[in-house]
Symmetry: C2
Amino acid sequence: MEDLKLALLGFGNAAQAFAEMLMEKEEEIRQVYGRGVRVTAITAPSKGTILDSQGIDLKKVLADARSAGRFAEDTAGLCTRNTLQVIEQADCDAVCELTPLYIEDGQPAIDHIRRAFQCGKHVVSANKGPIAWAYDELKQEAEEKGLMFFYETTVMDGTPVFNLVEKTLKFCRVTEVSGILNSTTNYILEELAAGKEYGEILEAGKKLGFIEADPAMDIDGFDAAAKVTALLNVLMNAGITPADVDRTGIGDITAEDIRKAAERGKVIKLLCEGRRTENGIAARVKPVEVDQSDMLASIDSTTSVVSITTDLMGKLSVIEHQPDLRQTAYGIFGDVIRLLDGQQR
Amino acid sequence: MEDLKLALLGFGNAAQAFAEMLMEKEEEIRQVYGRGVRVTAITAPSKGTILDSQGIDLKKVLADARSAGRFAEDTAGLCTRNTLQVIEQADCDAVCELTPLYIEDGQPAIDHIRRAFQCGKHVVSANKGPIAWAYDELKQEAEEKGLMFFYETTVMDGTPVFNLVEKTLKFCRVTEVSGILNSTTNYILEELAAGKEYGEILEAGKKLGFIEADPAMDIDGFDAAAKVTALLNVLMNAGITPADVDRTGIGDITAEDIRKAAERGKVIKLLCEGRRTENGIAARVKPVEVDQSDMLASIDSTTSVVSITTDLMGKLSVIEHQPDLRQTAYGIFGDVIRLLDGQQR
């Protein structure tokens, strides 16, 4: 059977870690599936575009991207195409949407995925924008064309959340979701609790790579809102967008608030919650006080947790402990493996 | 397609809750699979034996078992057969091993499963004895006969543990497992911490149904040892038995120990651990002090947690919050659904 051929839209840190994981597990994949996974296209605005049906030399492009910040002139298949052209012209079975997130409207990633489905290609998205802003439409397009559409990475890296429900909780109806899903705000609240100043925390966090150049997306709760929207759209057919989330960030939380909460035996956490109510789905992102003895209080630094309540299995929680880029890469990798499984049926 | 036919060995509380779940989801199963699940045999020493190819009336036998403690004389197919005869003679595709656990050697459940495979029947086991004492042999017998063998319930009820790794963490190699897996000891340690006396706790726990008539299996760590053995056998091919676990129960823990630990900011928990070392698999059950801020400290009363570390995904934890019988029933139910999935391939 021929290799599964992938086009990668975006080649940032997560995409690079994914490419490494593909190389690492190449032999094992061949043993299990009798076929490999071949990257036939990569496009990234700052690094260039490669189209190569024979399979791109990942080792070379990783080295070039890391040393020079772009693909080298001697790379086979180096060309100039924009992202939509790559989706249309690449010799591939599936497109991996790994471009930067624009939280305001999920674009241009939504257009990328739409075009991929129009071209008859499966999609793996690590970009939460499309799942938060256009899930129902994209899902329907995929179904109509008989194409696969996976997006495990969008909420908690490679930690099984969507797969958990779909593969291991069959016949369970999800009634409620909650969690601590934004590690930047979790980190900031902890550092505030440790007595540091806001400005100092932001500066140190930026240096460590925990905090974005513009931290508003995290601090104002936009990222958390997009994640809880994705959870609710996929697991509870909510049909909402991040604009429907009752959202409060951590910008107004002071060291004094945290100190007073501690005196009452409480910790402040930015909690995401969604549940079905009489008036439809209610979704909220809000700093709340939890007991120091509560599991949520133990979710420190970059650790995340999602809790899922279902009719048959009550409440389960899944914790991802202090992930690094590899866990994000595994989210993409696991979805690609699902493509292989899906094509085997 | 014909219904999937099941023989239930045992009809205690979990089996009864499973029978209820089957009735509750009967229509939905038919919609998804185009076939139903039919119970054609039930045997339980205290309640009697029923063999009925047409399908046992679950509503009736549940009512009879609950009101009279045994199956009524007017039950269609009521007969006298022992368990091995039921396995041999029942008109069924699969056997559900739901008999009481004998922790010392896993018998007679191991013989039940062996006989089922000899008779060409798939097996779902909620009994951890066979997985702890004879996993490799039983797994090999199933594979040789092309039969399915599922046992999700054995470690943490219906919470995905084995399914989690098999279905959602593909290509991940498990390097370490740990957890709080015995809720009786967790409850006792908490009650001791709250200042109650050992005898008083045991008496109250027995009344509430948390604590067995003979609590030694829990208190001495045998149950926890069987669970960590099951985890290691299935997830890390350990090939060990509970006798290989370095086991310390909570019998020697005093209220004074707990108080002193609390003064140091610590909580005592009965922790199960297993990892690969240079000398093979090391498995341990032991009361350990964990920080009050540690996730493990938040695992209260009947809540359980399992943590799984893998090469690709680092450390993940799954928490089952305060389960009741329904979660146990779902473990069996989910495995039966896997039988339906497996036969669809």
